[in-house]
Amino acid sequence: MDTPVQHDGAQVESSVDLEAIMQQAAEHKGCGTDGGNSKPSCGSSAGQGDMPTEIWEKVKNHPCYSEEAHHHYARMHVAVAPACNIQCNYCNRKYDCANESRPGVVSERLTPEQASKKVLAVASTIPQMTVLGIAGPGDPLANPAKTFKTFELISQTAPDIKLCLSTNGLTLPDHVDEIAKYNVDHVTITINMVDPEIGAKIYPWVFYKHQRYTGVEAAQILTDRQLQGLEMLTERGILCKVNSVMIPGVNDQHLVEVNRAVKSRGAFLHNIMPLISAPEHGTVFGLNGQRGPSAQELKALQDSCEGEMNMMRHCRQCRADAVGLLGEDRSAEFTTDKIMEMEVDYDLDTRKAYQAQVEEERVAKVAAKQEELKALAGEVSDIKVLAAVATKGSGLINEHFGHAKEFQVYELSTDGAKFVGHRRVDLYCQGGFGDEDSLSTVIRAINDCHAVFVSKIGGCPKSDLQAAGIDPVDRYAHEYIEKSAITWFKNYLERVRSGEIEHIERGDADIRQGALIEVA
């Protein structure tokens, strides 16, 4: 890492012990740590790198764990777990709009049998579907019978599909053996605090051992159980990712401490997500005016934790019944009525053939990036810029500016092109903006970027972007993102050096909230 990591004194003092613990945890998981840097070398990087083959095999086709895999592989969530055992101030279980996209929300509840049929139907239609997750809409482990019955049915009929679940962790220690029994190899725990005083501001209550606890007492129980569960998973070699919701003024600074706590207990990836708190969702935070972070605030926190551990940047905060590639939702094609009528032909060979083709694409893409990285060899500059990319996937610049529902954001430096996030630019579900406003919406969402890479762009938006100081780039249409971005950046540095242009820092950008809606 060439970026200095700013942390508080307490962390510096304990860094020696932490390093020893981390090394232990990493060795246990088969991940190496490199030299004086305590960052484990596995997680969300673009390729295998120096990641041990065993871990790489587990994460490479998992869209929620590998930043690169999510361009190629799809996941689905089945909503078999409606009950929850805690209350979070960012959740309102009553809200359900078909256009709504955020965790905790589904359109219909499934039985384990319906869920199993749905998984087979989707896997037969979408061969790149490799992952089945249970994420709610409540907590999977507050509905253990339904959750594990679903896993049992799917592991019998579609053994090649990876199983994972996402939990608040309250009852996790009680279910670790069963999680291991069904070969669930990925578990996500949402950990927003390790300090119960902060927890009391996020969780009004937990229901534990037949009793409702509130305040600091509730948060103490929750954090104890979460960390115990994480340790138990690590001991059994089950990969564990930690999700944290960044709530400015409540836990934003504290998440650095959370990062340290989960890293030391063996979590292999940390996903810090922005709070979703639109007032129309009716959550406590939405109603009391608690804001979410700006794009710069989110990135700064992710960057400050990255010195310690791999950070996930591509989370789309999916619905609990999402189907398809991240960022797209095909759940409407697979309602219970439709799947019960479908003739399902689960053809493992077709799936394997498709996935082999995807592997070829991935290898070509990585090769292109490596080749272009050589072009940056010898370049030394402190300049870092962000670039937005319109893409439909496959690692290519292949989306029209006006059709993009989201932009991927890469940080460009002499170290290369690094994926650091994505920005949604679709319209709000309710109220909404007119077409005439959509361009300013896009500009607000990518306002921190120096350039936007597109396959095509009209004359009007082009001049508006230029006026806003964002360079619209369409000369790399249908080429690889990272290779093109590096070429552009090299040219940018040359123009700055020659005095043709002046390097100016960009401002902040908005993180869009609300529904993901289809562009007609």
Binding site: R109, N143, Q211, R212
Partner: protein, 74 residues
Amino acid sequence: MAFKIIASQCTNCTACEAECPNLAISEKGGTFIIDPEKCTECIGHFDSPQCEAVCPVDDTCVIDQNFPRYQAAQ
């Protein structure tokens, strides 16, 4: 006497059904209902009524004033 569920507020999340020690809760017409014949307000089972404690919406599992309070067998 018994608890009842305010149907207009029920999110249909099923949490109460699994917690009821008397198996008094079942799904009906898209939401959940409590059988007043079976409900004991959790007296003799737990310190607090389980449906009320686990319900995600406040004031949704409430005492039904149409019935006398439950009396534990002496």
